[in-house]
Subunit: 147 residues, 3 copies
Amino acid sequence: MSLLENKLTKLGIKLAEPKPPVANYLGTKLVGDLLFVSARVSELQGVVGEDVSEADAKKAARDTLVLLLAIVKKDLLDLDRIITVVKLQGFIRSGNKFTKQPQVLDGASELLIELLGENGRHARTATGVNQLPYGAAIQLDMILQVK
Amino acid sequence: MSLLENKLTKLGIKLAEPKPPVANYLGTKLVGDLLFVSARVSELQGVVGEDVSEADAKKAARDTLVLLLAIVKKDLLDLDRIITVVKLQGFIRSGNKFTKQPQVLDGASELLIELLGENGRHARTATGVNQLPYGAAIQLDMILQVK
Amino acid sequence: MSLLENKLTKLGIKLAEPKPPVANYLGTKLVGDLLFVSARVSELQGVVGEDVSEADAKKAARDTLVLLLAIVKKDLLDLDRIITVVKLQGFIRSGNKFTKQPQVLDGASELLIELLGENGRHARTATGVNQLPYGAAIQLDMILQVK
């Protein structure tokens, strides 16, 4: 078991077999040493700031990051091939008065740092949108550097 | 004529001379072997799930991808310089109840795969937004690896 | 003082010490020769096309680009390490009838070209969204090639 999966286990997180993409795209695409990870949405549905609280949205961001890691594991076979996290992009389905997208996305960013330390720190964009696939509350994609 | 343009012709698709950017940006920018293609919007205007159907939006996604390919051809001169499609990003102007952004974006993804086979498969993000330039229904940008 | 800062000074622009990120992310992340600059939002708040005019939004896009340059300077130490601007991504908080996102984003693009000439020209995506962090009107991120 990889070092990173050991850390996940200690945090009580188990990577499930990822569901296949719902449409015609790859889970990840490697070009040079950059791995582009396709967006996935949270299981949690709803509009943050209306029917979803900031705290629940933050937890959903963390859970969505776990989905991305399961996809990365499936494609790379070994999560210890991750050198560093380059960029995380998060779309938060937001009510017209909800403005704490950065605090929500911290749910994902903090897990990356717990798992990878300094190499888990990354550039980031946190944006509000009115709608996401399946009515989800959170959508994340990312770029990793891998070996 | 390039192999890829031959395939386009067989699909009945002709690449028109692209319109110049409406504002102060390039159609594409090359860095190393990565070609960043600027976003273009569909000619089709409207809100998907309200005044635009899912089927029409999917066709508009395909048509917008053809616009991007015309820009790539103008800048690269030869479409056969495309090695692989790395990442496709699609913004779908969505009514508050429309949640099938992935199915809409398949209009573009399926054409890439028809044209380029396995090399046309890519990482992807499909997001709903409330508004796009010129009131368009679809906006696409992408990253290609080229030689 | 770097050549680029000299040009900024001649334009009457002073780079302030950037505020630390409000959440758990880096201002920039370098991978190979690509510098991914995290999104920052404008100080100007409001909805473009409703309580913010197109002209004020364009100026806010320019001001937000100055914030990004201040962060890049802090991290690179010398702005003359910028080789070229690869990609600019702008999210414009848009009223449901506002469709001139490209004209607003020109506020940032034009400053990049004033400062860097041909190397300041870039690929771009300008998208409307219903909400941004802190209720800001504009959000920008970018990718630079650096030495």
